[in-house]
Amino acid sequence: MPAAEALESDAGLVARAQGGDQQAFAELFRRYSDRVFRLALSILGQGFAAEAEEVAQEVFLKVHHALESFRGEAEVGSWIYRITFNQAVNLKARARYQRPHVDEAALSHAATAEPGPDAQLETARRDRTLRDCIQTLPEVYQAALRLYYWLGASVGEAAELLGVPENTAKSYLHRARQLLDGMLKERGYSNV
């Protein structure tokens, strides 16, 4: 990639794309596609990669359509992430996504595959309970947890994708852990 193109700001790319330059839109896509996909994944959860890709496609179609009316009042990234967040949350609400069901037989099978079957089964049950509890948290907490623990994002990156200051993202994680701790205690897992 030429240096001049690498240094071009998002605002510059948007200005060129608004003038009909498809290369500029393609560059915007390259800059943001992975992050849009990760944000969508963090909202939809594990096992929904295909749906996250659908969300990413819809987001870029919307961005392309709305680009000419974008006036730069917000950062380009924040604007794209906001569209992604809304799109993914709407899809999740419509489809009432739940984690893929894992029955007791499957858990037992997983447990017997390794040494210490009782302990393995207990761990699998506890992990399933934890994932159930996560589903009941507010969307931003769920997304923060998945970004940080599953997708390996730093707190700073999670904050950027969620459109909040870094301290707020930290407090989302802290509060989410507190809430999960309380829920696990209620379900009889006082020693995790």
Binding site: F29, E53, Q57, S69, L130, I134, R146, R177, L180
Partner: protein
Amino acid sequence: MSEMDSRGTEIDGMLRRSLGGPVPRLSPEFERRLSRELRRRSEPSSRYERILLVGYCAFSVATSVLVMRGHGLGWGLTATMTLGPLAMVEAARRMRRLRGV
């Protein structure tokens, strides 16, 4: 380490274990699919589709006007009730574009 800290560390470890797993990536053909979809949506509708749409609109408006006039409604009210919804659809479309989403 206080009990609260130790509990926090335990939850942290549990989350790492429970949520850890392979991270999916965008499929390689995603960009191509998006380009195709963009091209499809930006193509102007065909001449045949436009003629069909205009014909349908004209027929609907004419039928509505005939029925409303047949029931004794005045021209003003008839025009408002026939063209008002069309104007609202167009206004909503413009507002969505202005909001940028």
